[in-house]
Symmetry: C2
Subunit: 394 residues, 2 copies
């Protein structure tokens, strides 16, 4: 059969058609009034999308660049920091703060798990300058309780830096209410655009901290970007096409929300939750286990059936159906496969990929009944959308 290429990876994610058109039309110069208007609009819309009054910035980098920028601008050698690690991206925080010479406290839990608030309370010291964590850990599909962790820091001078690269647009985050000082997103996740731009929102006290920090920085000097952004510009050449793509995605979300971008973001989160609920139900109906104890809506990590390498599932779904799942990362390679729900996915995508997974599992020798996973997903969908009954008789 023909195979359409479809991404079910937790980034990059499928491009929205308006995003594709924007990318193809982006032959504009960045030091022009037109581009400044676009840049200002994207920065303002990102505030709404993130749900913050804090200033937003764009960087021509991947999300990891914005993670490094946070460490580089907010810490200096010898600072005590706390890193919360529950997977590959937690380990990235750990590696980054070590590179910058921080005195690092680490709360580490096994892949698939999340933190207990008491562990974190015990690890916080009076001189902890900053805490680094993920909102959702893309390598395991786990969601962390950012609200509870933020509550521990209230009244202290400890900054809270949250990698929400797969969390934004898939989970509710009350950035200002909870007191998140830096929140980080990436273009290739909920915002339906290709990789190449990271965005972040920075609190007033984080801006103040930057003035004290002596760590050398140039390209990722957020103060420089802030000054430029206030003039509707970027400090360095921006990734023009991707900025235009973000604008198209944000306009689409505004339209989805009936003219209200915040409502559009809420719908996007609920969309991911429904896709995730369908996928979890299907996986369990097929006799598989979920890997994450507190599963995120961003993605579902499924433990492959006993005796079947998850790489065989990933390869089969890709080679036979053109759909790209993600294998486990690091030590979980071969053990689990990951199905993303971040961004531009709909019901047909979800049912389709669940069907493909059934086919590949059956070919690999799993004892499954065709349609059993999808039947469970169908019931979840029907329950979650029960209000939309379509009446009609001849």
């Amino acid at each position: 059969m023909l195979r359409k290429n479809r991404l079910f990876t937790p980034g990059p994610t499928p491009l929205h058609p308006h995003v594709q058109t924007a990318l193809a039309s982006a032959d504009v110069h960045h030091r022009t009034a037109d581009f400044r208007a676009l840049y200002r609009r994207v920065l303002a819309d990102l505030q709404t999308f993130i749900g913050t009054k804090n200033e937003t910035l764009l960087l021509a980098s991947s999300g990891s660049g914005a993670m490094e920028a946070s460490v580089q601008n907010l810490t200096q050698g010898g600072d005590r920091v706390l890193v919360l690690s529950a997977g590959k991206f937690g380990e990235r925080w750990r590696d980054l703060v070590r590179v910058y010479g921080c005195q690092t406290d680490l709360v580490s839990v096994p892949y698939g798990e999340t933190f207990h608030v008491e562990q974190i309370r015990a690890a916080l010291k009076p001189d902890t300058r900053a805490v680094f964590l993920q909102a959702t850990e893309s390598s395991t599909g786990a969601r962390h309780d950012v609200a509870a962790i933020a509550a521990l820091l209230r009244g202290s001078d400890t900054l809270l830096v949250v990698d929400a690269i797969t969390g934004l647009g898939t989970t509710a985050l009350d950035v200002d209410g909870w007191g998140v000082d830096v929140i980080i997103g990436g273009s290739q996740k909920a915002l339906m655009a290709p990789p190449g731009v990271a965005y972040l929102a920075v609190s007033e006290r984080a801006w103040q901290r930057m003035e004290q920090v002596k760590t050398p920085r140039y390209y990722f000097d957020l103060r420089r970007e802030r000054k430029a952004a206030q003039k509707g510009e970027s400090a360095f050449t921006p990734a023009i096409a991707i900025v235009a793509a973000l604008d198209a995605a944000l306009q689409y979300l505004r339209q989805v929300g009936g003219g209200d971008l915040a409502e559009g973001r809420g719908m996007l989160v609920r969309n991911a939750e429904t896709c995730a609920a369908m996928t979890r139900a299907a996986a369990q109906a097929l006799g598989m286990k979920l890997f994450a104890k507190s599963p995120a809506a961003a993605l579902t990590a499924v433990v492959a059936p006993e005796g079947i390498d998850s790489g065989v599932v990933v390869k089969g779904v890709r080679d036979r159906f053109g759909a790209v799942l993600a294998d486990g990362q690091g030590e979980m390679k071969g053990q689990l496969f990951r199905v993303a729900h971040i961004g531009y996915y709909d019901y047909l995508d979800t049912i389709g990929v669940l069907g493909a997974i059934e086919q590949v599992l059956a070919s690999a020798g799993a004892q499954i009944e065709f349609g059993a996973g999808i039947a469970a997903a169908q019931k979840v969908y029907a329950e979650q959308t029960a209000s939309i009954a379509v009446a009609g008789t001849k």
Copy 2:
């Protein structure tokens, strides 16, 4: 949930991404060497795609324009012709030959049925100048036996004109072997492009007939187009972007066929057959009847369950899931819905739309078991692709 717009209509059909890129890049002039090279390539590739050595032509028109061109160039007032009608498009042939003053014999069967060879044999007269029919009747999903009908005409001077607008790329057609004098296709069907271009292949004896016919014609004068095509041009301004789109689709099919366009067309036909087999199995497992007695792979027409208006199914699938089915046409409106398999569809599309149909039927009060239709489709898919077992154990 988010809804992606997806066409499951028997034209227009989904655009291939390379087609979209070609459309967006088509700012070229048509009286240039570059465009002539493109035009010649498309004409030659269409011969391969149709499977004929007859000369091919493009018209800037819908498929109905090419139907009219056939009547206008091959008949004149008073000619006796035979029209075979089994639905809305058969009626279009009837209307066209009447407009041009032909003495019309009509073999008409009810919607959903096909012709008996004996009916046709009885209706053919020694002075029948031409026979007009469809390869597949898009309004009912029926496939006609073109080979058997062509065999009746062998050795006579009667021309055979076949509207294969939804037949090309969905069913095997031995144009030259059977002796089809004119075969007609449209850009918006198997070739994954938007509407606006029709194509046709014309036999040597049809070219000769045109020289005798006195019917006034100008825009659709195929002799004029033939002369222009021999110079790599069109007689009038061509639909440049759609010609470029056809080129992209034909290159894609060549790639699908491992460098062999005829093999790519064969795969496209088998693809439609698999989508159709899955859809038929699902519909029957959900207790519904197929409308066509000799169902085409181009599309499946499904009779809506007793007490449910098919318009409710079509509206529900469109409004709730963004997928566009076709309702019945003419007298069948409200009775059946049609799901297309022509062109750029894959497994995920098919499973996804079957899931959406299950949801809408359940909401409309049909007694169905969630997943039952899809389970049947899964079994059909697994049987048809049994050779592609993916082995793999830890």
